[in-house]
């Protein structure tokens, strides 16, 4: 009997020591029946992309509270494409101003961005709707 699970990598790129949000999201996705790989703090884009490939995830979720989102998110997405893994969905969360959200989505760097106050269920729903199992 075949049994596919949604696999999500939750990562914190760059110099940002605040991982409470990332852990809350990881927990919520776990409770929604997904397999969540959490890699901890201070990840480089190369580490994140390599982990995403080895773990064969459907989604990479980046948590960024440092303000470096306009650099880090495109770097991860670009690297995924270069490594032939552009089909992996990139989403992000954190303190990201509205105009940057627009730029990141329109530029194709992130499929969706969840800012503070987003109900956890919305994130779960979004992932379920965008990953074919």
């Amino acid at each position: 009997m075949s049994s596919r699970r949604i696999r999500v990598l939750i990562a914190k790129p760059g110099l940002d020591g605040h991982d409470r949000g990332a852990r809350v999201i990881a927990r919520a996705l776990r409770d929604a029946g997904m397999e969540v790989i959490y890699t901890g703090l201070h990840q480089t884009p190369e580490q994140i992309v390599e982990a995403a490939i080895q773990e064969d995830v459907d989604v990479v979720g980046l948590s960024i509270l440092s303000g470096a989102h306009m650099t880090l998110i495109p770097m991860v997405t670009q690297l995924l494409r270069e490594r032939g893994a552009g089909d992996i969905t990139v989403i992000a969360g954190g303190i990201i101003p509205e105009k940057d959200v627009k730029a990141l989505k329109e530029g194709g760097w992130a499929k969706e961005i969840f800012t503070p106050g987003t109900p956890l269920d919305d994130i779960v729903e979004w992932i379920r709707n965008h990953v074919k199992v």
Partner: protein
């Protein structure tokens, strides 16, 4: 040969990852792919790391990887964490301790959820090991979930099993209990900077004094501090000594492993068959539930029914064979 297998053998990481997912998900193409991979397996040395939660299995795997990489060997790591029996979800956090090797092309790390399996590993772990074996990993470290006393599946998959303990993990009686203490090829007392190591080592050694030696191997008792990389070289040397010792009776062991796996696979297929058969004869379930029939009689009737079905199928096949 399937494209994915070709790419796996050529060292493509994405294909290796995909193939492990196919094994994990029990996808329809799994058996066909495994049949193609199987001839390329059996070369890696599989090292199991088991022990209670927080004993330092991930940190030890990380430290060992550094040691093995220094010799230029390719390393695969499979780290198993528990799946929730309530939601089916899992939080796989073993990579946190292994980030040093995240971008090393000679290291491949994969996290797995147990997905309902109770022996400390996932059901697909054996096939994931095979994928990494064919991928060219010379040493494969398999880290079990944090176990209690009797999750022993690792001993059937690993060539060398490390039981990871910490000082103060119980008194002398804990050490002589059956179960996990019996499966170690090497004992590792990690977090040895905590003190209490001598007492722990002494209890294990005196337990070993009374144990029969298997093929002349007496499990060494080593102490390590994984995050300071202390005792890791000695541990790797001990693993290599054990590998050499194992190689001498490798063929017998391979046969034993094959026998166990076949038994396991046939049993699983039979179980599915029986479950389907039972569903079709739910009247029997009802009779047992309402005390009209005892469970042993009902079980015998089910077996008889199944065997009759099997015989009929055999006869039909025989008849077909004659016609052809």
């Amino acid at each position: 040969m399937h494209e994915l297998v070709k790419k796996l053998l050529a060292g493509d990481r994405r294909s290796a990852a995909r193939l492990i997912s196919i094994m994990e998900n029990n996808a329809p193409e799994k058996e066909e792919l495994l049949a193609q991979i199987y001839p390329f397996t059996g070369r890696a040395h599989v090292v199991g790391l088991t022990g209670s939660p927080g004993a330092g299995k991930s940190s030890l795997a990380d430290a060992l990887t550094r040691e093995i990489r220094a010799e230029g060997q390719k390393v695969g790591i499979i780290a198993v964490d528990p799946t929730s029996p309530f939601t089916g979800g899992a939080l796989l956090g073993d990579r946190i301790r292994m980030q040093e090797h995240a971008t090393d092309p000679g290291v491949f790390i994969r996290s797995m959820g147990t997905r309902g399996s109770l022996g400390g590993l996932a059901q697909a772990t054996r096939d994931a090991i095979r994928v990494l074996d064919a991928f060219g990993c010379q040493v494969i470290l398999v880290e079990t979930v944090g176990v209690g006393q009797s999750e022993l599946d690792i001993m059937y998959h690993a060539d060398t099993t490390l039981v990871v303990l910490t000082p103060h993990a119980g008194d002398h009686v804990q050490v002589i209990k059956a179960g996990i203490m019996e499966i170690a090829d090497i004992f590792v007392i990690n977090k040895a900077d905590l003190g209490g190591v001598v007492q722990m080592a002494t209890s294990i050694e005196s337990m070993l004094d009374l144990s029969p030696r298997l093929n002349g191997w007496r499990p060494p008792v080593l102490s390590t501090v994984a995050h300071e990389h202390r005792g890791i070289r000695e541990l790797w040397e001990a693993i290599k000594r054990h590998r050499a010792c194992r190689r001498d009776n490798g063929a017998a062991r391979e046969r034993e492993k094959a026998h166990r796996e076949l038994l396991d696979l046939v049993r699983r297929q039979l179980e599915e068959l029986v479950a389907r058969h039972l569903n079709a004869r739910c009247g029997l379930v009802e009779q047992v539930a309402t005390r009209q029939k005892d469970p042993y009689t009902a079980a015998r009737e089910i077996m008889a029914g199944l065997l009759a079905v099997g015989e009929k199928a055999q006869l039909a096949k025989f008849a077909r064979g004659k016609e052809e």
